[in-house]
Subunit: 200 residues, 4 copies
DNA sequence: AATGAATGAGAATTCATTCAT
DNA sequence: AATGAATGAATTCTCATTCAT
């Protein structure tokens, strides 16, 4: 009998390695050869786990959004106050550790593919779902805040969620370019202050 | 030295053509052959204007930020009211015509490269400058608004500018994936209303 | 040694499956993986029955000529009149059901290999034997016809057999390309009429 | 200015080299690398002359049928008597020099492709046209023979042409396997004698 | 100055075969 | 005995870049 291998977990392992490499060089620029070398396997074996390079990308994207979600949840789960949760989300989401940064690079890589290749509807679907789910989660936090009378009843949670998530993505983008020259902490504090008090 | 001027302008021309093609397929997937064909020149002649493909990207990035800036200015120049300018910026920037959308793809392409190749400091510099200049311009508008008593004196224009620009980029990103399912107009209106009145 | 008998019959079985697949896609384009999957066995087990793919081809070729012969015999065995046998041979051989057609593709595949690899004398031998045996069988029918005074005594049965067999192969070849646009029935009838009556 | 190259004639040249190699090993087994090496050019240059390996095959098939036709015509053009033309066609066509033999191998290769890949309709078309044209040409010779009272008026030229061409193809096939052990001359003489005089 | 012919490194993918279990 | 995991050689094709003309 041949060596017994857990195909699914090896698939994940390879995808994770490919993710790291892709985060550095971009998915397209990361060759199968490179991935398999790093995974300590022969070039041909790749195709025992994936039908395609495209198939690998699919696995990566799944892992990507899972990790991203997992990471965010881990940041928020020990916080009780909804407004504090949102502030943390904005602050932590934007500043990011290396782990987060790598994900963002892949996130943008994926985004590019969705927008460029009309073919990859599958990716677009993943992406949409992720954004929609995220929005729902954030909107729920705003609703909590309402319930605790921290924000006005007539505030539209959906809209605010959209704004907050977009803002996080935008800040991540900028932060990675401007890195030491941007005060994310200050920005997020000010933002919440302003949201609460208005500017006028 | 009229020849040199000609070279420079032809260089720009080629970059613009390459920009359009790259906006559709991504820079890496756009071949020299394709670019020169569209530019109505021989493949070899490319190297009379650029030392290599990387050199072309540099030119593209310059043109990119120029165009982006030009586009934004054109949207704002006939508006007098500062708050109206900001609202327009947010709305127009995010909803975007095709022109804007194409630029965004390249924008992200460039961003990708800045983040990937620590080597390409040059791109990072362009990018930083663009972000810093944009922020300054938006901050100036906020200052105008203050001067006209439309917002409180103690609001930090710099911080608000940072937020607004990040928000625009984030919304563009999301808009291009969610396209028909996101109400950018509603979002930007609500955002300004909230900024002005606070949430509490 | 019952095991050896089992091996032999399994070998035949596999060869038959491989034959069907090869008839559709050609031998070279049919992978071991495909064959073993269809045979309901592991890829590695293939090498318990064959030393390599070439060895499989050998088995296939044997089976091929056996099948071809079996098929022809089955068409002729219930016909008494020799001339009718020949006419049937020509008509049935050329028009062919799918069974015949599949064999023809393999037949040509094999022929190709004989001609290409001067090395594979083994295949050439199989092929020669098949042609020689077929010729002998057809010549015997002509002799029968002579004995029954259906054709002149001075006709050369050997030569006629050679012609008939070549004609069948040629017609099969053409029929498979021209399929609906060739009237094999008419052709074979006319041919026999002309053979019998002369053209002048 | 770059080297001036007659693309069309170089294309033909390469196709001819590929034809020779394919005649030995089969088209599929002949690699681009091999072809370009023999043509004294770099691997990449192949694609300056052909879009595809498939494109090469198309050129080969065209050249193949042209050469075949040219060869046959050259055998027949100095013969006046129609029956002699037909006899020559059968004899020469079947015995073949090396040139003819190579063509036959490719001919069969092409045939296989037509029959196997339903996709390659283009090749099937070439093949059909070739067969139809050949039949028409041979039928015309039979009509000549009729006009000169060498064969009966009621003989069907079309049918006879079909038979003759199929017989030639079949004999070629067999000849290449049986080579020294088949007396093509005797066969063709007997065939015509029998056609003329009948067998009864 | 301009060109396109030529090139070869490198990419994804396939597959017969081996071998540890 | 049977298996399928692993492998690497080989294949087609792309493309930035060079260079003779």
């Amino acid at each position: 009998m041949p060596k017994i291998v857990d195909k699914k977990s090896r698939r994940s392992e390879i995808a994770k390695i490919a993710m790291e490499l892709s985060a550095q060089k971009g998915f397209d620029k990361t060759s199968i050869r490179e991935i398999t070398t790093h995974a300590g396997m022969g070039k041909g074996s790749f195709y025992d786990y994936f039908t395609d390079k495209e198939d690998l990308l699919e696995e990566i994207v799944q892992v990507l959004f899972e990790e991203w979600t997992r990471l965010i949840i881990s940041k928020l789960e020990n916080i009780d106050d909804p407004m504090e949760q949102l502030a943390t989300l904005l602050r932590e989401g934007s500043v990011m550790g290396d782990e987060f940064a790598q994900l963002m690079i892949l996130y943008v890589d994926t985004w590019r593919r969705c927008v460029r290749d009309k073919s990859s509807d599958k990716f677009t679907q993943y992406f949409k779902s992720f954004l929609i789910d995220s929005k729902a989660a954030v909107a729920a936090i705003f609703e909590n805040a309402k319930a605790q009378n921290q924000i006005r009843e007539d505030v539209d949670s959906e809209v605010l969620a959209t704004i907050l998530i977009a803002l996080i993505d935008g800040l991540i983008l900028h932060y990675m370019v401007l890195k030491p020259d941007i005060d994310i902490d200050g920005v997020s504090q000010s933002f919440f202050k302003m949201l609460q008090d208005g500017m006028k």
